[in-house]
Symmetry: C2
DNA sequence: ACAAAAGTGTTCTCAATACACCCATGG
DNA sequence: CCATGGGTGTATTGAGAACACTTTTGT
């Protein structure tokens, strides 16, 4: 064993804390999104150990031997955010030979949409810090995580136009402007307010709560909630939100 | 070692022929699609060994230690079809704990679109037979492959409406009816011919070859080819093919 | 002549767009 | 009274759907 190999082995020890009950070459990584005052944010962690030390990266973990991929992703999101009920979908799998410098790791990437007010961020023992970042102002990321984030943002654009996923980012009762801001943040465009309202209302996805906002420095907006039944019907028929 | 374990071990020997230079818990599977006389077909293999013996399944293989996932998928498709230039995209990754009965295997699934007339089907040493199947009349499939096929057909519907992938299934010069048949086969609907023509022509994706079909028992149709330059522009602007 | 597919024309409806305008509330 | 966002009205444009119709070619 030469010096370089020893160094690598030392790094790997520090890095991994890879438990025995996990698969050796497989991880899940999560893109956890939330809306915060009209901005789309993603949750990142600053790691303690190994080659990723003191750098920001996605929130991920190993997959247990007897654990489904989606279960692993769910576990990681819940552990980091405290949220138990959220939208979770597979994005894609990244497996370039050298994406992780020390050995071959394939990562299955999931993305989730959470409601900011339901979160209670906990940083695990492997991380110094866990924080929300505006997707338009991301720090430098470890490994291929920047590529992954960009791919997921593209995918979100695609998705938001064909499924009403926006509702997964809002509290139960929300205003039309809040909903509009989601589309604007994800698609990175400005929308016409009157047209947006009419369009979204015509879809019959919204139920008027017959309540108004409180304590706002302008005319109080009507609160709406999402009609899950109509959504289920729409899924079969197709849904479209092109601009 | 008890009897059952011995049996399993014997099965595994027969099953695998897992080479030393491959990852142990990872495979790629491929959905290879082509159009044949207005029908959408998918390529399947009938395996020789192990628990999949004499059953139909997707065309897959192990991923080499020093091979990217996409490279592995490309290799498998080329090996089975002889085609070297085709549309290849990742679909998703399937990794339920018991999807493969003998041990944990995660499979990264790709789909490819090939031109039937460019194919020269070769069946490898692990398969008795490789054949095209109409997606509307599939045989029983091994493991979770039916779930995978259904997911990919859903994804194709989604995809064909937002990217002009149809062209990847056609010869260089094709008629408008051939193109229409692709949309009809993938979306599983009937389209109005006059409206289809106008719509597709307005997109400026087609170049008139100023040639006609030969030897057809009806009025010869104009041949068109695909304008790749316009497509590249459209990708940025967005593309839509809703019906 | 007939089958089969190519290809054109026309009408109707409705969604998308642009933008002017009024309303309610707190500071 | 003004800033801020809520909310309505309306005219124009163009795409999509339905369908009647003519053209070309081989058998």
């Amino acid at each position: 064993m030469n010096n370089k190999t020893q160094l690598l082995a030392a790094e790997m020890d520090k890095e991994e804390q890879l438990p025995d009950d996990c698969m050796k070459n497989l991880s899940v990584d999560n893109l956890i999104y939330a809306m915060d005052q009209g901005k789309l944010k993603v949750l990142l962690a600053k790691y303690k150990h190994g080659i990723a030390a003191n750098k920001w990266g996605l929130i991920g973990h190993w997959v247990k031997l007897d654990e489904n991929l989606e279960t692993a992703a769910y576990r990681v999101v819940t552990q980091a955010t405290g949220v138990t009920n959220f939208h979770l979908d597979q994005l894609a799998t990244f497996g370039k030979v050298n994406r992780y410098p020390l050995r071959r790791i394939i990562t299955v990437v999931y993305y989730s949409l959470v409601r900011l007010e339901e979160t209670n961020i906990i940083h695990g023992e492997n991380t110094h810090e866990v924080a929300w970042f505006d997707v338009k102002a991301l720090p430098e990321l470890i490994f291929d995580h920047d590529e992954i984030v960009q791919a997921s943002l593209e995918h979100l654009k695609y998705k938001v136009r064909h499924e009403p996923i926006g509702f997964s980012l809002l509290p139960e009762k929300f205003t039309l402007l809040q909903l509009q801001e989601i589309y604007e943040a994800i698609l990175d465009i400005k929308l016409d307010k009157p047209n947006f309202r009419r369009k979204i209302q015509k879809m019959n996805l919204l139920i008027n709560c017959k309540e108004k906002q409180k304590d706002v420095a302008h005319r109080a907006a009507t609160l709406y909630r999402f009609d899950i039944n109509v959504y289920e019907k729409l899924k079969d028929f197709g849904f479209n939100f092109e601009y």
